[in-house]
């Protein structure tokens, strides 16, 4: 069973994603803030992490900080960055920091699940 971490501060998105991915056989954890995500990443191994660019916090782009953390500590983990503020510059920066895919919000869950599954299977 693949273990998935969802990092987003919007409760309704976390709820919907968690239910969707669990129904498709993933083990799912969810974090609402950067430090909570990092505490989970230190303790558990994830096949993939879906992270929102902006979480409640002071930086405005905590999602990229989480990506940095993952690249340094868990290089095998696949990453998907979700953002409502997409731009070619942001996408380029995210890719440069090692993100596997950048998607605009809102994203249809079947498409997201397809992408996550292909990234995870590719890594195996």
């Amino acid at each position: 069973m693949h273990r998935l971490l969802i990092v987003d501060d919007e409760e309704s998105i976390v709820f919907a994603m968690t239910r969707y991915f669990k129904a498709r056989g993933f083990a799912v954890d969810a974090a609402r803030e950067m430090e909570e995500a990092q505490a989970l990443l230190v303790n558990y191994q994830y096949a993939a992490v879906i992270v929102d660019l902006r979480l409640t916090g002071v930086h405005g782009a905590e999602g990229l900080d989480i990506i940095d953390h993952i690249r340094q500590r868990c290089p095998a983990t696949r990453t998907v960055l979700l953002t409502a503020y997409g731009s070619p510059e942001l996408e380029a920066e995210a890719k440069a920091r090692g993100v596997d895919a950048v998607l605009r919000k809102p994203q249809a869950l079947p498409d997201l699940a397809q992408l996550v599954l292909s990234l995870v299977e590719e890594a195996e």
């Binding site: 969810a30 909570e36 990092q38 505490a39 303790n43």
Partner: protein, 253 residues
């Protein structure tokens, strides 16, 4: 409400006690030596798991706050335990280093609750690399002078290294489950346990094997000279109200 706000609410954290048993069996089974207090985060959150709870608190810069809450919970719960049973509790080395009033606070709170500090063992844990300093050593001295004992947790892993042994001069060496589990068939693990037992003897300390889950592990660590045993084979962590049933007439060293 953020996770941090939930953690800091009254009654958010719960406490269970895992017994530590004497390795020597006088024919009547292994006597209880002490109980280790283990904190759990709010049910239904990621922080229910203690490793996530403390890592999260550390990243939020609230390790010392959490350590103080855990201490208060422990002292309150100890009033439910019978007799003069001894308890240990985990404190981050970084808390002792950075929270200059922590050691005095522990002793003052123990006094307020009517508990002799000699019934308390402080288990030093640390996962961050920047623990060491004069504040840490001063706090350890204060706690020891106050009558408390010192245990070093997770020996051989992370920051629980030779330097930490030299600085802490622990009364108890706690060998992590990573070393204990699988030791009956792994000569490498046996060699590490054997060397830690020899080292502990030279420091006048006792050795605790954590994470014992099989009869074979229990037998192996006893043969290697471990003094004290802890693990699910002997007992899972218990609520304070269930601890009395395990106690023999004279718990303790």
């Amino acid at each position: 409400m953020s996770l941090l706000a939930r953690l800091l609410e009254p009654e958010a954290l719960s406490l269970v006690f895992q017994p530590v048993f004497e390795a020597a069996d006088d024919g009547g089974g292994h006597a209880v030596h002490s109980f280790e207090a283990l904190t759990r985060g709010p049910v239904g959150t990621n922080a229910f798991a203690p490793n996530v709870l403390f890592e999260y608190a550390r990243r939020k810069g609230h390790e010392a706050t959490l350590d103080r809450i855990c201490l208060e919970n422990l002292l309150r719960a100890m009033t439910l335990l019978p007799g003069r049973v001894r308890c240990s509790f985990n404190v981050h080395a970084s808390t002792l280093q950075r929270d200059a009033g922590f050691a005095a606070h522990v002793l003052e709170r123990a006094h307020t609750h009517g508990l002799e500090p000699s019934r308390l063992t402080i288990e030093i844990v640390e996962h961050a690399p920047d623990w060491s300093g004069r504040g840490f050593l001063r706090a350890l001295g204060q706690l020891r002078d106050g009558g408390m004992r010192i245990a070093l947790d997770d020996i051989g892993l992370g920051q629980s290294n030779y330097r930490m042994i030299l600085d802490c001069r622990p009364d108890y060496f706690k060998i992590d489950r990573y070393v204990v589990q699988g030791c009956p068939t792994d000569t490498g693990r046996q060699a590490i346990i054997d060397s830690l037992v020899v080292l502990a003897r030279k420091f006048g300390a006792r050795v605790v094997a954590e994470g014992i889950e099989s009869r074979a592990e229990l037998t192996a660590v006893r043969l290697l000279g471990v003094d004290l045993l802890q693990g699910f084979l002997l007992s899972a962590p218990l609520p304070a109200t269930d601890c009395s049933a395990l106690l023999s007439p004279a718990p303790g060293r």
